[in-house]
């Protein structure tokens, strides 16, 4: 055979290998094919192609492997068990940038499924190779490496610590300053994943000077970038007062309120999360946010959105109101109570309702003015309904009861308390009656109203054990009225009257 014929055999073989690997890579983009591919044993076929002579075949094989591992964790396990990772890590250091991108993609696809797989990736020494890739010039390689590091750090504190110890943080902060938006997104997301586990990690992130760069990107037009930036800032701020103060000192504050009107829903949610993490620490921080008009902006946000994304806003209002009565009055004055009542009636999820109920309780528990503002919105019967409803979860019932009790203990607005006399169970009823017994002795108009609205009649019908607090309150209410009135309204009075009529002998 001539030389050309011999070489043709080799060329054919190379062509068929290229075609195989490209087709597999394309098929792996569709989820329905992956089962078939897996059953056909694609892993064992792709493994030797990773060591192929031709660079394009290597890269495409790595890409195909990455797409397969991305799909589910069995395939990722197979990648780990097939000892492919050390080869990839070695080639991360040596090969050209297309291969590096593909290798980083495989590492990311394996690491994202579970902590055990991420630990396996770390054990192969991938972290050092990935950190070295972060120093590359090509932004695509940096993005892939940063993404892989972010997915590794996401699972738990131990893995985040490993990522930090590999020295990834300064490079991630440098990536934040690059002009490519995709790279910035990935860097912000990775920083957010590292900082979220513990205060020490958040402090390490802050020490690399990340906050200033994140703060600069707050008004960037790209929505996905803003999501990640706000998520990172809120993960940093949530751990302690000092970290929250550092975030506030970066002067994000009035500018961030503009992002509350962003068309992207998750940007708004993350902004509210950031505000919640800041306000929950101290009254001074809450005061600062209230003074910049943050509360009004959040209340408007609650009006515009629906569903689970309302939760951070509601919790923020609750935290602000919990600190002091001034701040609670500030929330009330900014029209918070009608909005929260709307949330309570519109939402069906129990955890969102529990949060709303808690926030309302915090608003109403401070003084009589606050309790009056909350009760006038018609909140109390709704709280009672939630407490009594058997469909509500236990958490919701407990919170509803606490909120109800704390508002009732300060409420002196009697028209709002009256509906509660009719439906409440005895442990709530004693508080309601107690409040009546505190207010009625001093206010004659209220006494008159109490009689005409049928409240006195209802109070007489309540059965209470003698000597209990409820009985004492009932007695003190009865003492406010002349005896004939009390007797008139006591149950069975009509029968006694009729008996007297029967017994009467006309003269």
């Amino acid at each position: 055979m001539s030389q050309r014929q011999v070489l043709q055999v080799f060329e054919q073989y190379q062509k068929s290998r290229t075609q195989f690997v490209q087709t597999v890579a394309e098929l792996a983009t569709r989820p329905q094919n992956i089962e078939t591919l897996q059953n056909a044993g694609v892993m064992s076929l792709l493994r030797p192609l990773l060591l192929d002579v031709v660079p394009t075949i290597q890269q495409t094989a790595a890409l195909a492997l990455g797409r397969l591992a991305n799909y589910n964790d069995d395939l990722a396990e197979a990648v780990v068990k097939g000892d492919i990772l050390p080869q990839l890590v070695y080639s991360l250091a040596e090969q050209n940038r297309f291969y590096k991108k593909a290798a980083a993609f495989v590492l990311r696809a394996v690491a994202r499924h579970s902590p055990a797989l991420a630990q396996a990736v770390v054990d192969c020494g991938a972290l050092d190779a990935l950190v070295v890739s972060l120093e590359e010039f090509d932004p695509g390689v940096k993005e892939a490496a940063g993404w892989a590091l972010g997915y590794i750090a996401r699972h738990n504190e131990h893995l985040s610590q490993a990522v930090v110890e590999a020295g990834a943080l300064p490079f991630l902060v440098l990536c934040l300053q690059e002009p490519e938006v995709a790279l910035k997104r990935i860097a912000a997301s990775a920083l957010s994943d590292v900082a979220k586990h513990s205060p020490e990690l958040a402090q390490t992130v802050v020490d690399t000077g990340a906050i200033a760069h994140l703060a600069q990107m707050v008004l960037n037009p790209d929505a996905k970038l803003k999501r990640q930036v706000f998520s990172a800032l809120s993960q940093i701020a949530k751990h302690s007062v000092d970290l929250a103060e550092l975030v506030v000192e970066a002067e994000v504050f009035p500018a961030v309120l503009a992002c509350l009107r962003d068309p992207d829903e998750y940007v708004r949610k993350n902004v509210t999360t950031l505000m919640r993490e800041i306000t929950k620490h101290t009254p001074e921080l809450s005061q600062m946010i209230v003074n910049t008009g943050g509360v009004a902006a959040v209340i408007d946000y609650l009006g515009d959105c629906r569903g689970n994304v309302r939760l951070p806003g509601i919790m923020m209002l609750g935290y602000v109101a919990a600190h002091s009565e001034n701040l609670a009055m500030a929330v009330i004055v900014s029209k918070g109570v009608p909005q929260l009542t709307l949330c309570l009636s519109e939402e069906r999820e129990d955890h969102v309702r529990a949060a709303t109920v808690w926030a309302l309780g915090q608003l109403g528990r401070h003084t009589a003015e606050h309790a009056r503002a909350v009760a006038s919105a018609g909140v109390l019967p709704r709280l009672l309904g939630l407490y009594m409803d058997t469909d509500s979860s236990e958490d919701l019932q407990v919170k509803a009861k606490k909120a109800l009790k704390s508002i009732l203990q300060k409420c002196t607005h009697l028209p709002a308390l009256e509906p509660l006399l009719y439906d409440a169970p005895s442990n709530i009823l004693k508080h309601v009656v107690g409040q009546f017994s505190k207010v009625l002795p001093h206010d004659s108009k209220a006494r008159r109203l109490f009689v005409t609205s049928g409240g006195l009649k209802k109070v007489q019908e309540i059965k209470a054990e003698p000597g209990s607090a409820l009985q004492e309150h009932i007695t003190s209410i009865n003492n406010c009225y002349p005896e004939e009135i009390v007797r008139y309204y006591s149950p069975g009075y009509s029968e006694t009257l009729l008996e007297r009529v029967e017994k009467y002998q006309p003269v």
Binding site: R97, L257, G293
Partner: protein, 338 residues
């Protein structure tokens, strides 16, 4: 004597009378005794009563005076006490007024200033209004911007579409698809078609201008011309242009330059044990290819002055440099220790 006779007649009578009178007296004696006793007791009673009333009067006088004295003393005490209480009440009243003012001032200033709180809440409401209005305006502005951008993009796409469909322009004879005669005015697409310049499709080869030096006679033209017209010069992207080894080459270049510019290749090691096995390096002046020179160890210049022939000796002391003259003396006297 007549008186004596008369008297003798009376003596018998007198004796009888004496006994009668004695008997009567004896008979009257208890009665009289009783009467006398009564009179005496009455009189004694009067005496005693007079004495008692006398005593009474005096006792009354004494008691009256004493009681008056006691009462007045007691009254004086009462007046003093009342006066004291009145004064104390007055002082208390005044103190309460002062304290009331002070407490009001203190609470309003340091503890809880109701009006400040009221002003704060009003200011907060105004700020909220402002923030809400501004956010609304900002959201509207952004919305308009986005719509504007979207509209421009759409217009751009439509223009490109019009350029591709330029052949659907209506002519004098025949109205085009977009210019139906039944419409009152031509469609917007028609207007775009009128404005658009025909766009060459991508598959046609680039026209390089009039053919240069073509004979036009036969199908076989000069190969050089054909190549010039047909071959499109590739303009590879930066990605394709950069060789995969660029980075390594740049790194090697940097490495070489650093090695070139470095004077001392041996890394600095500050610990003494690192220099343990170091070989002693002689100075340049005393080394030669064969043996170390003896100058500097065995003899010096000054030892053989006759060889010097009037050469000037080396200077051992240099001129001072004034760098450290002001050291420590610029700002404080503490530097004079130096």
């Amino acid at each position: 004597m007549a008186r004596f006779v008369r008297l003798e007649n009376k003596i018998e009578r007198i004796k009888e009378e004496f006994f009668i009178r004695n008997r009567i007296a004896e008979e009257n004696r208890p009665g009289e005794n009783r009467a006398a006793i009564q009179i005496q007791s009455w009189f004694r009673g009067c005496q005693v009563r007079a004495y008692l009333s006398h005593l009474d009067k005096h006792a009354t006088i004494i008691q009256k005076t004493w009681r008056g004295f006691q009462a007045r003393a007691h009254f004086r005490q009462m007046v003093k006490a009342a006066c004291f209480i009145m004064k104390m009440n007055f002082y208390n009243e005044m103190a309460v007024r002062v304290q009331r003012r002070w407490r009001g001032f203190y609470t309003r200033k340091y503890v809880h200033n109701f009006y400040a709180r009221k002003r704060y809440l009003e200011g907060l409401m105004r700020t909220n209004e402002l923030v809400r209005r501004e956010l609304g305006e900002f959201a509207e502005y952004q919305q308009r911007e986005r719509e504007h951008v979207a509209m421009e993009r759409e217009e751009q796409e439509n223009t490109i579409q019009a350029e591709r469909l330029h052949h659907l322009l209506s002519t004098q004879q025949r109205p085009g698809v977009f210019n139906s005669p039944f419409r009152p005015a031509p469609d917007k697409m028609e207007l775009r078609l009128r404005r658009a310049k025909p766009r060459p499709s991508r598959s046609s080869p680039r026209n390089r201008g009039p053919l240069l030096g073509s004979t036009g006679t036969g199908p076989f033209r000069d190969p050089a011309e054909v190549w010039q017209q047909r071959v499109c010069v590739t303009e590879p992207t930066l990605r394709v242009q950069t060789s995969p080894r660029d980075l390594e080459r740049a790194q090697e270049e940097l490495h070489r330059e650093e090695w070139r510019n470095r004077l001392v290749d041996r890394p600095f090691q500050p610990f003494s044990k690192a220099w343990k096995d170091r070989k002693y390096e002689r100075t340049v002046h005393s080394t030669s290819c064969f043996l170390p020179l003896a100058y500097g160890t065995k003899h010096f210049r000054e030892e053989r002055p006759e060889q010097l022939h009037g050469k000037k000796p080396f200077k051992t002391v240099f001129t001072t440099c004034h760098v450290f003259d002001k050291f420590g003396r610029l700002y404080s006297n503490a530097g004079k220790i130096v």
